[in-house]
């Protein structure tokens, strides 16, 4: 996370990938007792990843990362349960969970985010899709669209914020 905050993309990607596996187990287990469908787990995992990204400046670097991630995951799980009209009682303790060996769910589509993605402007959706699904770099996207790389990065950042905000609006 320290490298990620310093702007190291590949370190950040590796971290998010590992965290997503841990989170998937945590959310699945947290929801198992209250009967939330498994498909919905991925929606919450994605919501948590976006929150980790957009709120990473609230992590105190002198503190361990685990409790901070747990607190964000817990908040998002409670939100999700509240949305379903259930009593939000979720215990999240990352220390109890191992990283899951297999990572099958990462290839499962989360439906919420697709709906949310449709709410973006055509250009922003194009940028997000090119970088995420097609795996292009910001520079390549910039060349294709005739934009500067900075403008692409700004548009990407705004789009991620918009995605997170749409999750939030659903909650209220």
């Amino acid at each position: 996370m320290r490298a990620a905050i310093a702007g190291d993309e590949s370190a950040y990607r590796k971290l998010l990938s590992e965290l997503s596996q841990v989170l998937r187990g945590v959310v699945r287990r947290g929801f198992a007792g209250v009967g939330v469908p498994r498909d919905d787990v991925e929606d919450v995992v994605q919501d948590v990843l976006l929150a980790i990204h957009l709120k990473r400046h609230t992590w105190d670097r002198s503190m361990p990362l685990g409790p901070w991630v747990s607190a964000i995951a817990r908040n998002k799980m409670i939100d999700d349960l509240r949305r379903r009209g259930r009593r939000p009682e979720v215990a999240v303790d990352l220390s109890e969970f191992e990283i899951e060996g297999e990572d099958q769910q990462a290839s499962i589509d989360a439906r919420d985010l697709d709906r949310v993605l449709n709410g973006l402007s055509d250009k922003n959706r194009d940028i997000v899709r090119s970088i995420s699904i097609d795996g292009h770099s910001a520079k390549e996207v910039a060349e294709r669209l005739g934009m500067t790389e900075v403008a692409v990065r700004v548009a990407l950042h705004r789009s991620l914020k918009a995605l997170a905000a749409t999750y939030q609006e659903k909650n209220t």
């Binding site: 702007g7 993309e9 709120k55 400046h57 908040n75 990462a106 589509d109 970088i131 699904i133």
Partner: protein, 213 residues
């Protein structure tokens, strides 16, 4: 969208990190305080005998000890509450400092003053003014604190809002104390507390609406 794809998009956005939340909060509170201080100096101003009073009157000095005992612990707590992994538990006791000091002040005042003067001291000269001015001077710091908390990730939005409201009132009360002609702890207990409690409530209400993420 697949989670792996989302991760790619997020990683590509690695460079846009906001300044640390503690820094944002400190600067916002500083700016809010500055606005209220300028408003205070323009509209009211420090009372004429300020230097004289601060050196000679224990009551006058005690006003600032009391208002700062509201503002400083509230500021430290808000810095914690802006982070998701903050556990409010024991540190909420910091907030008991101001009520304890006030109680001690009241008892001291009642011991040194004859009972027939208590009422006049409590009612003071300017109570209505005090009731209006403290909430008004709270507005800029409150807006600043809520703005910074929205940048943060409070997992206790109502508490964070309430302590933010308390902080704003503590700042406002510290400013107003420099103007207010009434120095008795009895006056502070009767009137200052109303403004402080109201702003804490306003903060809690706004917190529950604005600070979810």
């Amino acid at each position: 969208m697949r989670t792996d794809d989302l991760i790619k998009a997020i990683a590509a956005d690695a460079k846009t990190v906001e300044p640390p939340i503690g820094q944002t909060l400190t600067m916002a509170v500083g700016a809010g305080t500055l606005i209220s201080a300028l408003l205070f100096l323009w509209a009211l101003g420090i009372r004429d005998n300020f230097m004289d009073s601060i050196a000679t009157s224990v009551r006058f000095a005690f006003k600032f000890v009391l208002t700062l005992s509201v503002a400083i612990p509230a500021f430290l707590l808000v810095r914690g509450l802006a982070r998701p992994d903050f556990k409010p538990d024991g540190r909420l006791w910091w907030l008991a400092l101001a009520p304890a000091l006030l109680l001690a002040g009241i008892i001291g005042e009642m011991m040194v003053l004859p009972a027939d003067t208590w009422k006049a001291r409590m009612i003071g000269q300017n109570s209505v003014y005090c009731l209006i001015v403290i909430p008004i001077l709270s507005l800029a710091p409150l807006a600043a604190v809520l703005y910074a908390l929205r940048k943060g990730a409070p997992t206790h939005p109502v508490t964070a809002g309430a302590v933010g409201g308390l902080l704003s009132a503590g700042i406002a009360a510290t400013l107003y104390a420099a103007h207010c002609p009434d120095d008795s702890p009895l006056f502070l207990a009767a009137w200052y507390t109303i403004g402080v409690v109201v702003m804490t409530g306003v903060g809690a209400l706004l917190g529950s609406r604005m600070l979810r993420w």
